[in-house]
């Protein structure tokens, strides 16, 4: 609380969310950018009736702490060492107070104090086990056992984690059986917003690990798949697979056309890992690291190579060929206009 001094000292009036109002020396209060701005822009804070309403996260206790900090730091003439010593002592608070202080300092835009308290909180977290951290911060242990076992989450080398990985692998197999029986979509679907192009280029880097590819289900692709006009074929293969491969190819077409000069896409498709990628695209559920039997896999491989060969040859001649050969081709013929806009038509 400010003491009224005989000499003319100016004060700023501040009001916290509980309604209590207090006055603070001007130079101390102005150390907070948010208060400073309020005073300068709206002229508030000059009297009790026009007290500046502080943000909700600033309660009176925490305000006291912040003002102490400001009072010390706004005084010129402190050496760096003195400031450091003060800061170290200042943050010796319980975690609850530290969190409140961080939150309040952030709402008052007092960045140096935010950094100081964040560093203190980080030091509390660092090196502790998850149980210890949960206990310190009163975090609920509410991850399901399956979620905790997710191998992609745990980047640690804890031997417990390795055991859990193995258990998880077993559990996933069980889940897979159950899905096949019930044909129900798995609840947990990763939201991967990346486009096909990014994924293909990632794969081209050599990592054909099916685990990584497993989560590349693209919602956009799903929608597009449904929009593809059914093309009639004389092939008696699994229609689903056909559709999907075609849609993928036409998408690759689109991708290709956007970047006409790149023949790298073609080489990407020639990469054997792309076959693995295609085989991993399952249609009904997100869990896809197995499931296609070898015969179908071969069929897809052949189609992919065929497609890649076609891409590799020069476009205009290709187009002629496609047009002249007509319905035998399973591809939807695509014509390219000068500025690479695409018109699609059936033969």
């Amino acid at each position: 609380m400010a003491i009224v001094r005989p000499e003319m000292k100016s004060y700023i009036w501040l009001q916290t969310t509980d309604g209590s109002i207090q006055q603070v020396e001007e130079e101390v209060a102005m150390f907070c950018p948010m208060i400073c701005r309020e005073v300068l822009q709206s002229g508030m804070g000059s009297s009790k009736n026009f007290a500046i309403k502080l943000p909700q996260r600033v309660n009176p206790a925490v305000l006291g702490l912040i003002l102490e900090y400001c009072r010390f730091h706004q005084l010129p003439g402190h050496s760096n060492k003195e400031l450091k010593t003060y800061d170290e002592k200042f943050i010796r608070l319980d975690t609850k107070s530290l969190c409140e202080l961080t939150s309040a300092a952030d709402s008052l835009q007092l960045r140096p104090l935010v950094d100081l308290t964040s560093r203190a909180l980080a030091r509390i977290i660092e090196g502790k086990t998850p149980e210890e951290i949960r206990e310190t911060f009163h975090l609920p242990d509410d991850l399901t056992e399956e979620e905790k076992l997710e191998p992609l989450r745990n980047m640690t080398d804890d031997p417990r984690i390795r055991l859990l990985n193995r258990l998880y692998a077993r559990k996933r197999k069980e889940l897979k059986e159950r899905e096949k029986v019930k044909n129900v979509e798995v609840a947990e679907e990763r939201m991967d917003k990346r486009s096909v192009d990014d994924l293909l280029s990632f794969i081209n880097g050599g990592d054909g690990d099916s685990k990584c590819v497993r989560t590349t289900k693209n919602k956009k692709k799903n929608r597009r798949r449904k929009d593809q006009p059914r093309n009639t074929t004389s092939n008696n293969e699994n229609e689903n697979r056909e559709k999907d491969v075609d849609s993928l190819k036409s998408e690759c077409h689109n991708g290709e056309i956007e970047d006409v000069s790149s023949s790298s896409r073609a080489s990407m498709l020639q990469d054997s890992s792309s076959a693995a990628f295609l085989s991993n695209l399952d249609f009904d559920d997100a869990d896809t690291d197995d499931g296609l039997d070898p015969a179908l896999k071969e069929e897809i491989d052949r189609e992919v190579e065929d497609f890649a060969r076609r891409l590799n040859s020069v476009w205009p001649e290709r187009l002629q060929e496609i047009l002249s050969l007509g319905q035998e081709r399973r591809l939807l013929p695509i014509s390219i206009h000068g500025n690479s806009s695409v018109a699609r038509y059936t033969a």
Partner: protein, 423 residues
């Protein structure tokens, strides 16, 4: 094991604060927070400042195993990351040049990377892929032990402000084009370059640090340069090579830096500057130069002394001067040109602002003493002159002190502090 008596308030903190906290943790611990509770699962995945080093994974004796673990960690992290990445630092001794690094750079180039630091393994130098040159939002780039070979259509980083290249294998014209192609460049550091001849055109450059065996440096257009720090290495045969170079190195290097405030020169800097030097040219005045540090000045070489004098006399506002000498007392006991100080030395100059002089590695050779005499005579506001004798001077110290005490001092306040060796 949730402690239900307390309240979980930390998870309610705004994401921006959580990210500040997580950024202050080693990245491995930051990722571990994902298994704390359901709300913490993805808090780490939007961090914008990533620092990866060899501490990210526990280290095995087998180098390949550690390398693989590190690669896996970083790849998986990036794979699960969401949102932009502004700062990426990779500093590792385990990872050599590897296609994984290329993949990560490709990924980063699409995430709007702004500050990039790459320091990779020692044996094989990393060859920067072309996607590095597609990171056009870069404001800060630091590379160690790399090979740079930009594609022909590369025009420079238009936002780059800070560039630091150490032990980078790159063609000289590439560096020049890179510097010219970064119009906003403010800070340039080039270290461990061999035989580099460099012409620098950088309209916004404020800070320049060079370290290496430079053949020829010309600061052609650097009007805003404020701090220069040079450590010039030379092999003996290069010195002869220098003698044949054209032009005055002093003018080429310091001829166009009117805003200079601090100059540091080490190893063979003054020797380099003395090549082609002619007394009598109209010098540029460095009105803002306040601190000059020159190390390893050879007081046996008259030309080097002239360079030092010219620098001092062209800086009317010089406040602090630090010089270390590299003279050999035994060899230089008979110095020639001693009458230079009485006859040819420019007179009538006063160093009006010079307050502090530090002279180290003093051997007591005649030219050193004359130089100190000159300083004492012309510095009316000098406060402290501290002398640190060289370690090889054993018996001459007392003579040095006696001589120093005799010199006339222009400043009544001047203290001469003779620092004895720390045993």
């Amino acid at each position: 094991m949730a402690n239900s008596s307390g309240q979980d308030i930390v998870s309610d903190l705004p994401q921006s604060i959580i990210e500040i906290i997580l950024t202050k943790l080693p990245i491995r611990d930051a990722v571990r927070t994902s298994i704390l509770s359901s709300r913490w699962r993805y808090k780490w995945a939007t961090l914008t400042q990533l620092v990866f080093d060899d501490n990210c994974v526990s280290q095995f004796n087998d180098r390949t195993a550690t390398e693989n673990k590190l690669v896996k960690f970083i790849t998986r992290f990036l794979f699960l990351h969401e949102g932009p990445i502004h700062k990426f630092t990779l500093s590792t001794y385990y990872l050599q040049s590897s296609p994984d690094i290329d993949q990560w750079l490709l990924f980063l180039s699409r995430k709007g990377i702004k500050e990039l630091v790459l320091e990779v393994g020692e044996d094989e130098w990393f060859r920067a892929p072309s996607c590095l040159f597609a990171c056009l939002k870069l404001t800060s780039l630091e590379l160690l032990r790399c090979e740079l070979d930009p594609p022909p259509e590369f025009r420079g980083f238009s936002c780059l402000k800070y560039l630091n290249l150490q032990q980078v294998l790159v063609a000289p014209e590439v560096i020049e084009n890179l510097i010219s192609g970064c119009p906003l460049l403010e800070s340039l550091t080039l270290s461990y370059f061999d035989s580099l001849a460099l012409t620098v055109r950088a309209p916004n450059l404020k800070y320049l640090k060079l370290e290496g065996e430079f053949k020829d440096i010309c600061l052609e257009y650097t009007p805003l340069l404020v701090v220069i720090s040079v450590a010039m290495y030379m092999t003996d045969d290069k010195t002869e090579h220098f003698e044949q170079s054209s032009g005055c190195n002093f003018d080429k290097f310091l001829g166009g830096v009117p805003c200079l405030e601090k100059l540091t020169g080490q190893i063979y800097f003054t020797k380099y500057m003395s090549i082609g030097y002619e007394l009598g040219k109209v010098p540029l005045t460095y009105d803002h130069l306040k601190l000059i540090q020159l190390y390893q000045v050879s007081f046996e070489d008259m030309k080097e002394i002239l360079v030092v004098l010219r620098l001092i006399l062209s800086s009317p506002n010089l406040q602090e001067l630090q010089i270390s000498s590299s003279s050999n007392a035994i060899a230089a006991s008979e110095a020639s040109d001693l009458n230079f100080w009485e006859t040819d030395c420019p007179t009538g100059f006063t160093l009006k602002k010079l307050k502090t002089v530090k002279m180290s590695d003093l051997s007591g050779v005649p030219h050193e003493m004359e130089f100190l005499k000159f300083l004492l005579k012309n510095s009316p506001v000098l406060e402290v002159m501290s002398i640190l004798p060289g370690i090889y001077v054993s018996c001459g110290k007392l003579n040095v002190v006696i001589e120093l005490l005799r010199f006339r001092r222009a400043s009544a306040k001047a203290e001469i502090i003779f620092i004895r060796d720390q045993m």
